[in-house]
Assembly symmetry: C2
Homo-oligomer: 306 residues x 2
């Protein structure tokens, strides 16, 4: 199945306790599509400026990612500068320059309008809705959001959520969105607004999925080396949605498997800066990490007590 | 097998966003032994003052907990006052009155000296060592500790750790102890100091066990109602050690099962204030929560990708 993503393509400058990079490839649509390309055909809707390095386009094309919906316009590419302390769960944004993203109006190429799986990465919820308007009959729609839109475009965000099957969101932002400190209760509130599934990203602590019927929770993959957490959430979503599109199934068992693939892909990403951890993965590596998750959480069924 | 615990028996005053209690039953040895009593015979080494309410002794006796090593001395019982904000992972201590605990010198009754499983709850590491001196030939020794001892009695703590098989410790304190921000690396450092196993308690995010050979990680049990997190760590240790003593096995599979029992017991505890969540549990409830953990983390083995 085809998977469409709308989001940012950016040049990131990142400092962590383990190193520093300047103007490297980044952006939510970039991380998402690169990861998803290991599972299915991906169509990107985004914008770059005329300063966007050609080598980055070549890399995305080398992953067979469809770039017909990637507009290249006059001006500068979106730039983000951030840093992380030893608490790698939280990014500190130092500078955001929207540049060409400021006037971005997504227009879907005709070939994208039949997309079956759709991911609305963390952008203005009004843009998210306008992308959805152009998709003819999606099988499944997921979105992400952040505190900036929760605070500044709450009504538009609620309108988008009405049209979404799955919300993928950071833990602190789930609490803020639902105005409820308990994360399970926060998810249950959001489940009354449209989404049938809420998946909360907890950084190194893993992820939790809440539906009306059940809860699934998984720890993070334990890593001794975390170079740069940038893009981890988008990699998680890319592995999840890429897998669902691959199997064309978003039943609960498939969602659980997708969360493992998402967690595995995010773990590869954070081991290196920018997209370096994602460029040359093999399926053996991906499947090995999936199996490592099974060993990580395995315990025997309930014993009889002596 | 017999399980010995040395720790505090206290009167706690606790405020959380969900309520407030004054001078209720608390203390590490109290939580630990109450939980462990569901699994095995427990021997308590602790001290109370002459103001300790008789009804609390009656409760502990009703759980078949051995109190021969509980000294009742002239003076006031240890008191702790603390509060929690909406971030229930962190207690803010408002007042600690050691009282009779200040001059506590644990002397093991003869019947305790053959204990096979030993838990040294979070007390002065010099006292932990002096308790160990009195146990003849333990099968397995575990201990807890905290930032106060890491900062103030580091050498004594390192000396205790040399004699311990298992360290059970909070996440922030594991980082502080090993002076290493990455939690897996922090555990690997501690594994070179004596313990063969390090289990890190992560509050609502669950627990992680690191040995030289493997890593086990489990999320917290998802709860919509958390009234009071006091004692959760001691309940976790009580369920874990109680189970290991019950089956007289501390192989890795048993440890993994014990961690699930510990997590289950901690989850019952935090649903109510003081020990109210632990007084009248049935084995059916405990085993049902163990099984709920299996459903919580279950996902199918690796699929073939289309």
């Amino acid at each position: 199945m085809s998977l469409l993503v709308v989001g940012s393509v950016a040049l990131d400058s990142v400092r962590t306790p383990f190193g520093e990079v300047e103007e490297v490839l980044g952006g939510s649509a970039t991380y998402f599509s690169t990861v998803a390309s290991y599972f299915c055909q991906v169509q990107v809707v985004a914008v770059v400026g005329d300063d966007f390095p050609h080598e980055h386009l070549e890399f995305l094309r080398s992953r067979d990612i469809h770039l017909e919906g990637l507009s290249a316009v006059r001006g500068k590419t979106f730039r983000w500068r951030g840093e992380y302390g030893y608490d790698l769960n939280e990014a500190h944004t130092l500078e955001t320059r929207l540049n060409v993203f400021e006037t971005f109006e997504p227009v879907l190429p005709e070939s994208y309008r039949k997309a079956t799986y759709v991911f609305l990465a963390n952008i203005d919820p009004e843009l998210q809705s306008r992308v959805l308007d152009q998709v003819i009959s999606p099988t499944m729609v997921a979105c992400d959001t952040m505190n900036f839109w929760i605070a500044g475009k709450y009504d538009a965000l609620r309108a988008t959520l009405k049209r979404v099957d799955l919300l993928v969101i950071n833990e602190a932002e789930a609490r803020e969105l639902a105005r409820e400190p308990n994360i399970i209760r926060a998810c249950r509130i959001v489940l009354t607004w449209g989404p049938k599934i809420v998946i909360v990203k907890r950084g190194e602590y893993g992820a939790i999925m809440v539906t009306v019927e059940s809860i699934f929770s998984i720890p993070g993959y334990p890593l001794e080396t975390i170079a740069d957490p940038t893009g981890a959430g988008d990699c998680f979503a890319g592995g999840l949605m890429g897998y669902l599109a691959n199997v064309n199934d978003w039943s609960e068992p498939a969602l659980r498997q997708g969360i493992i693939f998402g967690s595995a892909m995010a773990s590869f990403n954070v081991e290196r800066f920018s997209l370096e951890g994602l460029r040359k993965l093999t399926y053996e590596q991906i499947l090995e990490r999936y199996e490592a998750f099974r060993r990580l959480v395995h315990f025997e069924s309930v014993p009889s007590l002596g």
